[in-house]
Structures are given as structure tokens and as C-alpha cells.
């Protein structure tokens, strides 16, 4: 056990005394944890850029925007079109676009639709945005739902009060109606008891009419005849004769009159007297009926007023019900689903539809290229530095840049092979991607160059291959963690996030995503692409300068180490001899 401890202690001492190894082995993980810990040690979603589009920014919409702004979200308004906002998602200026209705006021049975436009390739961000904004919209939806329900309930309360009011009137009207109903029965029996049966008699009225007609006719003729006689130029004799005739006629007429006033039962007087008797009976009956009718008429006067009251009560009830109906009709939302979920959210994917592989593809691709390039860069430089032929290279009449470019070129060839393999294989899984591959290839080469130079720089700085490789992995891990691939960058503070935008991993991944998912062309991503190229050139110059400055030191160290090894070897050989 003691020996184990002794060896362990020795190992630790050796490790700590090799400064760079100690730095990398012990402090690199600590540094990574520190950087990541500090970066993501926040519970808020800082600096989430939300694009909001609405055809009209009403007070309602503005109020919602203000709520978002209170939560530290940066809200960018788009007034022209949602497409403008969607374009900005592609370029990463905003993280999501929300297509809002003009107003959140629900004025029908159709719920209001809110559309989120999200970049599906940023899967972690999608979930974060969804979760974060969903709660906001749920709250708003609840608020609207409460408002609608409140409105309906107030209408119901008002209806209830109206119905209560009208109910007592209807009770009175009902009582009046019952009373009228019993009165009507009484009136009915009274009226049915009236004897209005006429006496049925048969009179021979022909005689009277005949007589009357004959008398009339005769009297007319007599008169006419006398007139004619008088006026005629006849002699008196003649006139006498005629007058006698006329007088005879008159006597006949008198006989007729006797017939009318005769003593038999058939004379007219008897007839009239019979008629008078009958009329008297009838008169009595009519008087009785009149009394009854009078009595009923008086009663019906009260009934009329009761009916009038009932009518006005019913009118009032009808009016109230009409108002209630109108009010209920005026309720805009009656659909239960709309009342419970007045706002529905919809998610629209920006860019082409695809599988998760499509969305993960850019990150995976850059991840592979980054680690490969970093490790290859470091390893190649280390290989050359630790190669026995390193010293001989010094005597070659070549410029330092030649060696650096050669190492870079070696790396580049290996990366090209890898990228070609990856892209070819990926074509099997990713359909219709062939047209994008040349541009992706170019971006990967530029990105790979940056990572290669970074790896080479580490190779020149560190002494042992193991330390260099560990440093490369550490650097790659830091770039990966601060890229948003594992943890969303929107969780880090704005300052740190600003820094991460300069992360070559982030830039390369962004470029690939723009090409692969949004089919952007090279001109559409000029700044990022140029930034990447600038990185590569800058790093090349840094390596060139650093190599020039460090070369003598490297050579001296190399010479010393080789010299020491040689001495040790010699000593061993001497002992063998």
C-alpha cells in the first residue's frame, strides 16, 4: 500500500512539475466547468429575441408585447409581413416569430389562432421557446376565457332578475285569467238560459195583398176615369153614364174595404189583433233578454279591464323576454371549446420539412469536422515536432510558412476525404440534398481550416502529444458547450452570448444550417463566411509569428532532450560492454 502511495505521489509531482501538462490535465476540466457553470448559471431565458407580427398593433397586442418585454425578452415588431420575420429567423436575428391576431378579443365562436414560426434545426431552442411562450399564451388565454365566461354569467344574472320580476306579473295575470274564466262560465249559462224562441204563426197574407192591390188598382182607375171624363168633350149624358159607372166602381171599392174590416175571422182587424198579441209576448221575452244582456254587459266591462291588464302584463313580459333574447343573442361566444380555449397556438416550421436528422445534420457535421480538424492539427504538428527528422528540417532551404502550409494541406486533404465520405453517406439519409452539398463542402473546408489552425496552434504551444490532444479536446468541448448545440445559448448572459457569436463552431454551424435548411446561397451569408475566412487567415499569421518566435525555443528544447537521451543511451551501452 505504501508503495502504491509513493508511486502515486511521484506521479502527481511529475504531473504538477510539467507546467503545461498540469495546466491542461488539472485545470482544463476545471476551466471548462467554470466557463460553462458561469455561462449557464441563470434561471432566466435572457435575451430571447421574439419577432412579433400583427396586421394592426392594437392596444390589446401592445399590452401583450409589454408583458413579454417585462420578462426580459427582446421584442422586434414586424408590421409589413410575417415573411420578413421568418427571414430573420433564418439569419438568427430572432429566435421565433409570433403571428398575432389584430386583437385578442373573441368575437365569434372561432378561437383566435397564434402561429409560432420556429427554426426546427434548433431543437433545444424550439422547446425552450415553446415552453416559455406557451405559459404566456396560456395565461392570456385564461384571461380571455375568464372575460368571456364573466360576460355570459352577467347576462344570465340579468336574465334571471328580469324573469324574477316578470314572474309576479304573470302570477297576477294567471289569477285574473282564472277569475275571468269562472265569469265567462256564468255569462255563458246566463245567455244560454235566454228564451229567444219566436212564436210560429201562419198568416194568409195573400188576401191582404190581393185586396190592397185591387183596391189600389181600382181606386187608381176610378180616379183616372173621372179625370178623363171631366176633361173629355163628352156630353153631359155621356158624362153621367160614365159617372154612374164610376160610382159603381166606388161602391165596389167600398165593398172591398168591408172585406178588410169584416166581422169574420178572416178580416184584417182580426189578423192585426192576433198580431198584436203575439208581439206582446215577444216584447216580454225581449225585455227579459235585454235585462240579462244588460247584466252580462256590465260584467263584461270588468272582464274587459281585467283582460286589458292581462294583455299589458303579457306585453311587458314579451318585451322583457325580447330584451333577454336579444341580449342572449348578442353574446359573441357560445361555443364551449372556444370559451375554454379562446387562443389556440400553432407551430410552423421555418424552412423545409424534414426528419430530426435533417435538423441535427448541420451540428453533427460541424462537430465531426471540428474535433477531427483540431485533433489532426495538433497531432500533425506534434508528430513533426517530436519526429527525429525535425532537426533536419531546419537545414532545408525552406520558409517556415512552407512547413505550416504543408501541415495545413495534409490536414485539409484528410478533412476533404472525411467530409466527402460523410456527405456521400448522408445523401442516403437526406433526400434532395445533393444540390446543397457543394456549398456545404466549401463551408466545411473553410471551417475545417479554422479548426485545423487552432489545433496546429495548440500543437506548437504544448510539448507532449498527450497534453496537446487533451488541450484540443478541451478547446473543442468549450466551443461545443458555448455553441448552443447542447445547451441553448439563450440561457447565457447577453455579454457571454455576444462572445459566443464569434465562436467559429457557431459560425460554421450557422452557415451550414442556413444552406441546408433554408437553402441560402453564398451571397446571403457573406459576412459570416468572410468572418470564417478571416479567422483562418488570422490564425495562419498567428501561427507563423508564434512559430517564428517559438522556433528557437522548440529547437533548443528538442536538442537538449535528444542530447540527454543520447547520453543516457551511451551510458547504457557502456555498461553493456
Amino acid at each position: 500500500m505504501r508503495s502504491v502511495w509513493l508511486i502515486t505521489r511521484k506521479n502527481l509531482k511529475l504531473l504538477v512539475r510539467t507546467k503545461l501538462s498540469a495546466l491542461i490535465v488539472i485545470f482544463a476540466p476545471l476551466l471548462i466547468i467554470l466557463i460553462i457553470g458561469l455561462s449557464f448559471n441563470t434561471s432566466s431565458n435572457l435575451g430571447l429575441n421574439i419577432g412579433v407580427y400583427s396586421s394592426t398593433f392594437t392596444a390589446d397586442v401592445e399590452s401583450f408585447i409589454a408583458t413579454l418585454q417585462q420578462e426580459d425578452y427582446k421584442v422586434v415588431k414586424y408590421e409589413d409581413s410575417i415573411e420578413e420575420c421568418v427571414e430573420d429567423i433564418k439569419f438568427g436575428f430572432v429566435h421565433t416569430c409570433i403571428d398575432l391576431p389584430e386583437s385578442f378579443k373573441i368575437d365569434g365562436n372561432t378561437p383566435k389562432e397564434i402561429t409560432f414560426h420556429l427554426d426546427p434545426s434548433k431543437i433545444n431552442l424550439v422547446y425552450m421557446v415553446q415552453e416559455t411562450l406557451k405559459s404566456k399564451f396560456n395565461f392570456k388565454s385564461q384571461e380571455i376565457s375568464q372575460e368571456i365566461t364573466g360576460n355570459i354569467l352577467s347576462k344570465l344574472a340579468s336574465t334571471k332578475s328580469t324573469l324574477n320580476d316578470k314572474n309576479s306579473l304573470l302570477v297576477v295575470a294567471k289569477d285574473s285569467s282564472s277569475s275571468l274564466s269562472s265569469s265567462s262560465g256564468t255569462y255563458s249559462s246566463s245567455l244560454s238560459s235566454l228564451d229567444l224562441q219566436a212564436v210560429t204563426l201562419t198568416y194568409n197574407t195573400t188576401l191582404i195583398s190581393q185586396t190592397a192591390s185591387a183596391v189600389s188598382t181600382a181606386q187608381g182607375k176610378v180616379t183616372d176615369a173621372k179625370t178623363v171624363v171631366t176633361a173629355s168633350g163628352l156630353s153631359d149624358e155621356e158624362k153621367q153614364t160614365i159617372t154612374l159607372a164610376l160610382d159603381s166602381a166606388a161602391s165596389e171599392l167600398a165593398s172591398a174595404a168591408g172585406m178588410v174590416k169584416g166581422s169574420g175571422s178572416d178580416n184584417l182587424e182580426n189578423v192585426i189583433s192576433s198580431l198584436e198579441g203575439q208581439v206582446g209576448v215577444l216584447s216580454g221575452k225581449i225585455n227579459a233578454a235585454a235585462g240579462t244582456v244588460q247584466s252580462i254587459s256590465t260584467s263584461l266591462g270588468g272582464t274587459s279591464s281585467s283582460l286589458s291588464e292581462i294583455s299589458s302584463t303579457l306585453n311587458s313580459v314579451v318585451e322583457s323576454l325580447t330584451v333577454v333574447h336579444a341580449e342572449l343573442d348578442a353574446l359573441p361566444v357560445t361555443d364551449a371549446e372556444t370559451i375554454t380555449s379562446p387562443l389556440i397556438t400553432k407551430i410552423e416550421r421555418v424552412g423545409r420539412e424534414g426528419t430530426y436528422l435533417n435538423y441535427l445534420f448541420p451540428s453533427l457535421l460541424v462537430l465531426v469536422v471540428m474535433f477531427t480538424s483540431l485533433l489532426l492539427g495538433t497531432t500533425l504538428v506534434m508528430m513533426e515536432k517530436n519526429s527525429p527528422a525535425f532537426l533536419r528540417n531546419f537545414f532545408l532551404p525552406l520558409k517556415k510558412a512552407t512547413f505550416i502550409i504543408s501541415t495545413y494541406l495534409t490536414n485539409l486533404i484528410l478533412i476533404i476525404i472525411q467530409v466527402v465520405i460523410i456527405l456521400t453517406v448522408s445523401l442516403i439519409f437526406l433526400e434532395n440534398s445533393l444540390s446543397m452539398m457543394p456549398l456545404i463542402f466549401i463551408i466545411l473546408l473553410v471551417g475545417g481550416s479554422v479548426f485545423t489552425f487552432l489545433g496546429m496552434a495548440l500543437g506548437y504551444v504544448f510539448t507532449s502529444e498527450e497534453t496537446g490532444v487533451l488541450a484540443s479536446i478541451s478547446l473543442g468541448s468549450i466551443m461545443l458547450f458555448l455553441s448552443g448545440v447542447i445547451l441553448p445559448l439563450e440561457s447565457v448572459s447577453p455579454f457571454l452570448r455576444e462572445i459566443t457569436f464569434y465562436n467559429p463552431f457557431v459560425i460554421t454551424e450557422k452557415l451550414i444550417r442556413e444552406v441546408f435548411i433554408f437553402q441560402t446561397n453564398l451571397s446571403g451569408m457573406g459576412v459570416d463566411f468572410l468572418t470564417l475566412i478571416s479567422y483562418a487567415l488570422f490564425l495562419f499569421l498567428v501561427i507563423l509569428v508564434a512559430e517564428s518566435l517559438l522556433h528557437q525555443h522548440i529547437v533548443d528544447r528538442f536538442m537538449r532532450s535528444r542530447h540527454r537521451l543520447q547520453r543516457q543511451k551511451e551510458r547504457r551501452v557502456k555498461i553493456d560492454f
Partner: protein
């Protein structure tokens, strides 16, 4: 004709003087041996000669018929690199390349015409006896072959000056001689050689000039005989065994012009006035009188002895 000249050169690492105030000159065609103890500054001296490191003080001049006047190595290093070949202590080639591939790789980087290079490589392979192994991976070669390949890599561009840092280190005596003979051949072909070694016997046998480096200074430099002159002995010794004609020998010696005889029992140390004449007379007398003794030491001091003496004195 001068090829390389170090003028008042000092090299300092941190606070330590590795070399101080060195003046050193190598002429064309020299086979220069640089000797010294471990840590004396031999490798630093070679690194300065090749421009591998820059002097802290002084200058290293390179003389060439091609360039006008001497060139300061620090300034014109890039231009002068093609004139140097360097073989460090350890093998300096790519172990995973074949013999031929290594030679082609380094040759091409010197911008030599293909036809010339092919010819050079063929000759080199034959010369270094590696022709039959040309397609072997360097790591599969024996130590001697690897050393020869290393030398071949240094000669592929036909340099004017070949600098070797202990080329025979960790080789067995046979391989050491093999390599030194090869270098001698290279030297005969007109390549100036500077070789650091602590195998003093080898240096004495194969080099025409030597520089003794000790504690960061070049104590002696030049032709080996010239170096030995100050260290030549003024005496010779006769080793005796019991039964040898001791008395007769002493009497005979006393007849010769001798300043002093020291009798140490089994060894006589004789200080003659003229060592050459005395030894000749003595040998003649021994032959005439048929005398016998174990052995007589009339050697010039070896480099080893000179080196020990210098080391001891300093």
C-alpha cells in the same frame, strides 16, 4: 581556404556561459574533430557552426567562392543552408519511410533536378552500402545502417560542409570504424567535415585537425601534430623484468648524451639531450650486444593524454 570562421563567439543560456570568446576556423577540405567532455560545449559549437543557434556575442562567417566575401551566418542563413549537411547525435530521418523515400524526400526539398537527384541517390546508396536495403523502412535497418542513412540524408544535396555530432556514439567498435571510414571517403571527395566526438582515438586516427573544447572554451585547435607538439615528452621509458640485463643497460645509457636516469626498479625513465639520437644509438647498441628488455616506450603523447592533461590542469 577558409570555409567557416567563428570570431569572438560566446553563447549564453540564461545565466550560464556555454561557450565564451571562441575563435575557430575551418578550412575547405578539413576533417575536423571537435573533442571535449560531456557538457563541454561541443554540440553548442557545432550548432553555432551550422547556424542552428545564434551566438550571444561575436559572429560566424561563411566563406564561399560563389558568394562575394564572407557571409554572416546569422544574416544569410537561409541562403547558406544548402551548403550545410548536418547529422545530429540521434538519427534524423523518418522511420516510417523507406531508405529511398527518405533520401528522395530530403533531396527534393533542396530543389535539386530530378535526374541529378536520382543520380545522387543512386551513388549515395552504393557509397553508403545501402543500395540493397533501399526499399526497407528506415526503422527496420540496423543501427549501423541507420547511421549511414542519416549521413546519406545529410549528403543528398552535396553540401560543402558536413557537420556531425558524435556520429559513432553508441555504436560498437566495428561499426564505429565503418562509419569513420565512410566519412573519410566523403572527405576525400571534397566535403569538409566537422565532427564532434569523445572517442579521441577515432578522432586521432581519422581527422586531420582537432579542436579541444573544455569548459566552454577552445583550448587547442589545428593539425593534430601541431597540437601534440607542446605536449611531446622529453623522456622515454624502458620497462624491465627480473633477469633482464639491467646493469649493462644502465652503463650503456650512461655513455650516451643523457641528462638524467631515474631508476624505478622495473622501469627506467631516461631524460636524453636528444631523444631521437639517443633512442637510435640505444637500439643499435642493444642489437650489437644482444641485450634484452621487456619494452621501451618512446610514444608521442596521445590525444587522450593531452586531453587528460588539459582537463587535469584546468
Amino acid at each position: 581556404m577558409k570555409l567557416i570562421e567563428l570570431k569572438e563567439v560566446s553563447k549564453r543560456y540564461s545565466d550560464k556561459d556555454i561557450l565564451s570568446n571562441v575563435n575557430f576556423c575551418i578550412e575547405e577540405g578539413d576533417f575536423y574533430g571537435v573533442i571535449g567532455r560531456s557538457g563541454s560545449g561541443k554540440t553548442t559549437l557545432l550548432n553555432l557552426i551550422t547556424g542552428f543557434i545564434r551566438p550571444s556575442q561575436g559572429s560566424v562567417q561563411y566563406y564561399s567562392k560563389v558568394t562575394e566575401g564572407p557571409n554572416d551566418l546569422t544574416i544569410d542563413l537561409h541562403k547558406l543552408k544548402k551548403y550545410f549537411g548536418f547529422t545530429p547525435q540521434h538519427n534524423s530521418f523518418y522511420h516510417k519511410l523507406t531508405v529511398k523515400e527518405n533520401l528522395f524526400h530530403f533531396g527534393r526539398l533542396y530543389d535539386i533536378k530530378s535526374s541529378t537527384l536520382i543520380n545522387n541517390i543512386k551513388n549515395l546508396l552504393i557509397f553508403t552500402k545501402l543500395f540493397d536495403h533501399r526499399n526497407k523502412l528506415a526503422e527496420h535497418l540496423s543501427e549501423g545502417m541507420q547511421r549511414r542513412l542519416d549521413i546519406a540524408c545529410s549528403l543528398v544535396h552535396k553540401p560543402k560542409l558536413l557537420v556531425l555530432d558524435e556520429p559513432t556514439a553508441d555504436l560498437d567498435p566495428i561499426l564505429q570504424k565503418d562509419i569513420l571510414r565512410l566519412l573519410q571517403e566523403v572527405n576525400k571527395q571534397g566535403v569538409t567535415i566537422v565532427m564532434a566526438s569523445h572517442h579521441l582515438e577515432s578522432v586521432e586516427n581519422f581527422c586531420n585537425k582537432v579542436a579541444i573544447v573544455h569548459k566552454g572554451q577552445v583550448y587547442s585547435q589545428g593539425l593534430i601534430d601541431d597540437i601534440k607538439k607542446p605536449f611531446l615528452k622529453n623522456n622515454f621509458t624502458i620497462n624491465l623484468r627480473p633477469g633482464d640485463n639491467r646493469e649493462l643497460l644502465i652503463n650503456t645509457l650512461r655513455q650516451l648524451p643523457i641528462n638524467k636516469i631515474i631508476d624505478e626498479g622495473n622501469q627506467l625513465i631516461i631524460y636524453p639531450q636528444d631523444i631521437r639520437m639517443t633512442v637510435n644509438s640505444l637500439l643499435k647498441f642493444i642489437e650489437e650486444e644482444n641485450l634484452y628488455f621487456n619494452d621501451m616506450d618512446v610514444r608521442k603523447p596521445s590525444l587522450n593524454e593531452i586531453f587528460e592533461k588539459i582537463s587535469h590542469n584546468n
